[in-house]
């Protein structure tokens, strides 16, 4: 019953061949009524129709392909119904696939609590689809959405300039919005920004190029999403392997499990363990399916070291090249997520990689005013505030700046009494503090992409 080893149909779905389908996560952000539900509904509906028809037709023929008229926005549930029930407007995850890729959409509603929701959705997303209503233009709200997504590390932005049908598919209207959008993205140092004129309602340039926008020769939204190179494929970076779970092998050896946060892991590779800073080599990389010579970034694996060194859950293995920083006092961007405001004097629990420590938010808070993008001094932080802060921890964190690696630079704060997740943080760097820190000049390492990082070490 399970003998399907060579079925080409299934092989193509699983991607055993070279044209392997991969996974792209993106967020969608827009203000109410910009057409986000309609757009997502169309993506889900049309890709399902296209993809699955195509799949099914490989094995079956003559099936009925006709579909009745469908209200696309029904595919995603209605916000009004939720509001009536008093349910928190929240991030919803949706799924679709094409033969080339599986997509996970973090659908983040763009109103009251948009900062909290967008931050949550953006934290795991690579790309952002920003809805812009062509009849309204590039509004301040759009800027905020882009700002938050870029704060969370998104570098690939596509503006879906929607409701083009209502502006007579005007090239001029589109060009004006696209120009404003791109120059704002430039301002934030965003790597990749593009705009597409669409009508979610009519389906223009969502899946197929529209004949009503002949003046536009760019990719459709789906083409853009399918062609975007996926991140985390960068295995040229030095290895980062946060230890998640320690087991004992039959032989009595300790084995270390975790998910590779950066780089390629190779058998025989020399690694430095943190916080002990002992060195060892990767003796074996094992998975349920057997031993391997190397493991790609993102893999969950189990390894053995050639030496019995001090290493536990919360520890880290780092590869050759530049080493992570190590500090108990860091500067970070903080997004406050909780209805209870932030009190600098309060102790919080901080979770970073697989490690949990005590933390305190320093007294000097700089709230970022999202209308002006300026820092303003603040005494406390309210829900949805974004701030520049300093964090002190009970033990040094071993990290890379968030902009280099999200796993190595992201953390959450937890209220130790209510147990709620109250903030999300992104480490910018270690803070030198004469009383506690000194920098070891001899340990300067050069990164692959240029800048020098000083590893700061506690006495």
């Amino acid at each position: 019953m399970l003998d399907n080893s060579l079925d080409p149909f299934v092989q193509s779905l699983m991607g055993d061949s070279s044209g392997e389908p991969d996974l792209l996560r993106f967020i969608t952000a827009g203000s109410v009524n910009d057409g986000k539900s309609t757009l997502i509904g169309r993506l889900l509906y049309e890709t399902r129709a296209v993809y699955e028809d195509q799949l099914v037709s490989i094995q079956r023929s003559g099936m009925n392909r006709s579909t009745g008229p469908v209200d696309l926005s029904l595919l995603t549930d209605s916000l009004t119904a939720e509001r009536e029930q008093g349910i928190t407007i929240d991030v919803a995850y949706r799924y679709f696939a094409t033969p080339r890729r599986k997509f996970i959409i973090a659908d983040t509603p763009g109103h009251e609590q948009y900062t909290r929701n967008m931050a949550t959705g953006a934290s795991t997303a690579q790309a952002a689809v920003i809805l812009i209503d062509a009849t309204k233009g590039f509004l301040p709200q759009c800027r905020k959405h882009i700002y938050i997504a870029s704060l969370l590390g998104i570098q690939d932005f596509v503006a879906a300039v929607n409701k083009m049908d209502l502006v007579g598919y005007s090239e001029q209207v589109f060009n004006d919005i696209a120009r404003d959008f791109k120059s704002f993205c430039d301002l934030l140092g965003i790597r990749n920004a593009c705009a597409i004129p669409v009508s979610a309602l009519r389906g223009d340039n969502i899946i197929q190029a529209s004949s009503r926008t002949k003046w536009f020769d760019g990719a459709t939204l789906l083409e853009y999403l399918e062609d975007l190179p996926v991140l985390n494929s960068d295995y040229s970076k030095p290895l980062r392997f946060p230890v998640q779970y320690v087991n004992r092998h039959d032989s009595g050896c300790r084995v270390f499990s975790g998910q590779i946060a950066a780089g390629l892991m190779q058998r025989g590779e020399a690694v430095t363990a943190f916080p002990s800073e002992k060195r060892a080599r990767i003796k074996s990389i094992s998975t349920f399916d057997g031993e391997t010579e190397y493991a790609l970034p993102g893999s969950s694996i189990t390894i053995m070291l050639d030496e019995d060194i001090d290493l536990d859950r919360g520890g880290l293995l780092a590869g050759e090249g530049y080493l992570p920083q190590c500090a108990a006092h860091v500067s970070a961007k903080l997004i406050w997520l909780d209805p209870q405001s932030c009190h600098p004097a309060r102790p919080y629990v901080l979770k970073h990689t697989t490690r949990t420590v005590q933390a305190r938010v320093s007294n000097t808070l700089q709230r970022i005013d999202m209308d002006t993008a300026r820092n303003v001094p603040a005494l406390s932080l309210q829900m949805n505030d974004v701030a520049s802060v300093q964090i002190e921890t009970s033990a040094p964190l071993v990290f890379d700046p968030y902009r280099q690696n999200r796993t190595m630079g992201g953390f959450i704060l937890i209220d130790p009494i209510a147990n709620t997740t109250v903030a999300a943080g992104m480490i910018e760097g270690g803070v030198k503090d004469r009383n506690v820190w000194h920098s070891t000049a001899s340990r300067k390492k050069t990164t692959a992409d240029g800048p020098k990082y000083t590893r700061i070490q506690i006495h």
């Binding site: 079925d7 699983m14 399902r48 549930d77 998910q259």
Partner: protein
């Protein structure tokens, strides 16, 4: 080196393994809800992978209503042993001895006693602070917002207003004594992913999933398998029908479908074609949709 990125199935796998390890590391007493179905089968395989070369460091919990197909129970015992996992079977004996059955109580009430109540009791009895469940976000629209770590109040119920934001892969499992958490390692898997993974990994399934000739009657458009204790309605005559189950449940409340799909690839093809043929209603999820109401009470 063949490829630079993990394929989508391998990435889902790696993330699920991460979740399993994370919860196993941070909670005192985990348990895995094992329902014998295809999602449970995938979750169990992921647990084997997560803790390899060690054993799965928590027991499996099956809530047995005593109305399951005998093939399911046989398979359960065999598979748990194969996977080297400890198996706990819990039944609401009191309700059974008081005669709980779906004919007398109706499906919903019966489920509430034999599944939901039984589950909450078993979790409390075992002192489990976290239970892994095989639910997916794509199962129904209201699940799209479910967290990977889902908090349950003292009654085991899910309060959509009181869930923690989940950023990156930093899960917050802190809880007070008495509270428990459901962890859903398969949150980001779709039904198609599940079947593709079963295929890729050659994961054994209960034979009821595969089409073959079975003794059955056709009743109100569905195929009802002849099982012990099954009563025929006037005029019904059992015949051999090539059929299979799309989801596994209790004998009295489960129906099979006519099907020729006797291999995983054929099931995948058939599943995809169902979605389209269902009266043009693209919102229909064709599997286990009936379990929706049980989640609210705490079954999921």
């Amino acid at each position: 080196m063949q490829s630079k990125t993990l394929s989508h199935l391998r990435q889902l796998e790696a993330e699920s393994v991460f979740i399993l390890r994370e919860a196993a590391a941070e909670f005192c007493k985990p348990v895995m809800l094992y329902s014998i179905g295809k999602d449970s089968a995938v979750m169990l395989r992921l647990a084997q992978k997560a803790f390899y070369p060690g054993k799965i460091p928590f027991p499996l919990l099956h809530i047995d209503t005593h109305y399951k197909f005998p093939e399911m129970i046989q398979f359960r015992d065999w598979y748990a042993k194969q996977a080297g996992a400890e198996l706990i079977v819990h039944t609401n004996e009191r309700a059974l001895s008081e005669g709980a059955n779906p004919y007398a109580l109706g499906t919903q009430k019966c489920c509430s006693l034999l599944k939901t109540r039984a589950l909450l009791d078993a979790l409390a009895e075992g002192g489990f602070d976290v239970a892994f469940g095989g639910a997916r976000r794509d199962e129904e629209n209201s699940r799209a917002k479910e967290r990977v770590y889902s908090f349950r109040d003292g009654q085991g119920q899910w309060d959509p207003r009181n869930q923690r934001p989940e950023l990156w892969n930093l899960f917050n499992g802190r809880h007070n004594p008495g509270e428990n958490i459901r962890v859903f390692p398969l949150s980001n898997w779709t039904e198609l992913d599940i079947w593709l993974y079963i295929c890729a990994e050659n994961i054994p399934l209960v034979p009821l999933y595969f089409a073959r000739e079975r003794e059955a009657v056709e009743r109100a458009g569905s195929v009802v398998l002849m099982q012990r204790g099954m009563r025929l309605l006037p005029g019904e005559r059992p015949e051999m029908i090539k059929c299979r189950m799309r989801s596994l449940g209790c004998v009295p409340c489960s129906a099979a479908i006519r099907s020729d799909a006797d291999t995983v690839p054929k099931i995948i093809a058939e599943m995809l074609s169902f979605r389209k043929s269902e009266h043009g209603n693209i919102m229909d999820h064709d599997d286990e949709g009936a379990l929706e109401m049980k989640r609210r009470e705490g079954y999921f």
